[in-house]
Amino acid sequence: MTGGDAFFGEFIDDYYAECDEHLSTARRVLLALEADAVGSSSPAPEPAQLRELLRSLHTLKGLAGMVGDACAERLAHALEDALRPIERALVPVSQDVVDALFAGVESLDRCVTARKSGGAEPDVGDVLSRLSAVAGAHLPRTDQRHAADVRSDAPGAPVQIYRLTFTPSAALSQRGMGVDAVRARLAALGTVLDAKPRMFESGVVFDFRVECAAGRCPDAAWETDGLAWELEETPQHSGEHGTAEQSAVSEHASAIAARAAAGSSVVRVDLSRVDAVMRLVGDLVTTRSRLDGLVRSLDAAGASSDALEETSAAMERQLRQLRESLVRLRLVPVGEVFERLRFAARDAIRESGKRVALVFRGESTEIDKLVVDRMLEPLLHLVRNAVSHGIEAPDERVAKGKPPEGTLTLRAVAAGDRIVIDVEDDGRGMDAERIAIRARERGLLLDDEPLSADRMLELICAPGFSTRDEADRTSGRGVGMDVVRSTVRALAGDLAMTTVPDQGTRFVIELPLTLMIVDALLVEIGGQQMAVPQPALREILQVERSEIITFESNEVVRYRGGVLPVVNLGQLFALPRSPRDTIYVLVVGAEEAPTGLLVDRLVQLREIVVHPVTDPLVAMPGVGGATDLGDGRVSLILDAAALVRLALERRDHRARSRIPHAPASGARSTNGRHLVV
């Protein structure tokens, strides 16, 4: 072991991010391996998948070693050792082996999580010995390797093989057309059978062979990307080319196909950097609208400004496109979160002893990375709930005339700028009677009040509401329905439910495609909570109401040897005046011309989700949007810059000046107490 740990500390966040990717690969492959272990249709695990898993573990081990994460390094190593004989022998594995591998990956995840959160390292001794037992077990050696390498899906379906060449050049590479991008493109066309470099005098050419369904062909536009192709003479049927020619095919071929699409054409970017660019675009939008205002005033003055107007309009379009492209940068396929759900569902299913088929639809639907991350826990809860409470035991289902195996379906659909995720089971449905009794006991439902689906949802989302005396182990973990609802609300989403006795329950979650999240200071003005984005705050002063002076028709407080004009927000929004004597001034605006915003009370600093206010009846100057505080209360977000502009406009009519004779005692300090922002 070498001592680079401290040096590589700066890469620790990259390490965690890359671990996430490798762990999700590991889960995906293990689930496939398990399907092979119990199902009889596939005789052996896919070698390409096993190699991918091994590579992920190998990379993770290397990275763990670099950052000194010994726990993760040991586990990754043990997993590699356990998998290597399976990869060599290519025989179906037993459930015990799969369980040991799952336990290994889960412990590995816990090691990384513990390090990330500063928690105690988990005890992995037991898992390590289980893995080493797997590694030591004798597996029969077979020669299935190459045979199994041939893809066997859709046997007999007509296929064709293309021979393609790619000639890289500096110019192509400058616009992102490199060999990895080409390979990803070909992997989308079909199965890349072979990829070989060929050197000649002035450079290199890559020869590819791609098998694809008859009728599919390369896009004519690819010719401009350095690609050329021809159809291989004899049309073939998949599964027939496993002979002499096939043995010459690189054994890496199917791995290429599997992996390439997600290959190196992906750049990982810190979300905060994207947000920073997004804020700049927001500023640009403001600047452009100012420019637009100027153009209009030129127009009004009779000057011909057609060209300027056109330019300004073009700029608006471009800014909108820029904003849309940025939003797309933040989107990831929702399938990523579905895979993690599959993993969690597996545990719940095993614990419950039920038979449940998991069905995913719309995995490629894209959603904001932030929304996906925050929705993981609530979705986990819904999935566990459906397994442990919704879906019945096999004999109960048979007695009801249902198939013994229940189905849990997760669906994601994009609808405009919203995404709808639904979690549906075909189980027993909500027990309306039981919910009604429990709700009446707790005084949440009137005796004669009917129980609609909406009302039922409201009740089960009430904090601490459970029809079970004791939450069982599976669904009792993590969050409850109340957290599900508050998370969805805080993300500006909606939660709905339909339930039919003995037919099942369906939760429908509607979420915005993307979100803007900022740190904001919650303040109280006239009994109302409002939010001020933290980046807008320069300073906070505590003042007595009596210290506010009216000076040349402006309200001001003394500040840094001069005066600070203040905006009485309570007055501006026509809110009742608070009886407090001690109030706060939020200093905002440019350094050379700061403005103070008067608020009654500081509540807390927290993250909020910004929802633009689009309703013209609600929109008003000085309000930048609204946020849901998660408990159903809505708070307005103040647009500090707009408030400052309002104040300046008012002041423009009056002379701006300083107090002619600043009091000597206040020359270097302010009269208010400073608070750290």
């Binding site: 072991m1 680079g4 991010a17 071929a253």
Partner: protein
Amino acid sequence: MRTILVVDDSPTMRRMIMASLRDLDVAFDQAASGLEAIERLAVAPVDLVVLDLNMPDVHGLEVLRFVRSHERFSTLPVVVLTTRSDDESRETALREGATRYLTKPFSPSTLAPQIRDLLAAATS
């Protein structure tokens, strides 16, 4: 300025390697796969390669074979940097023409001087 081609399928590992060599006053080119490594070598001049072995599709050893089988790369220093610390891997890589065989985890204080020496030797 000399250029080092860093070949590793892990982006984090590539950044760690480049950070370890940042005091050498060199430029970096990167490749995330064996195929890409060959492409980079063919399109742009490179003075030294830091090469991972375990990569998807074209393995590091195949890159090494490719490099050594072409006249124009015959003297190009190739430093294999891998997690595989067994003798067999080491011997194979050296036999196929690796200039040095180093293992991960590595420390910047051992990697940088070796690379510097190899670059100096290649110039003289």
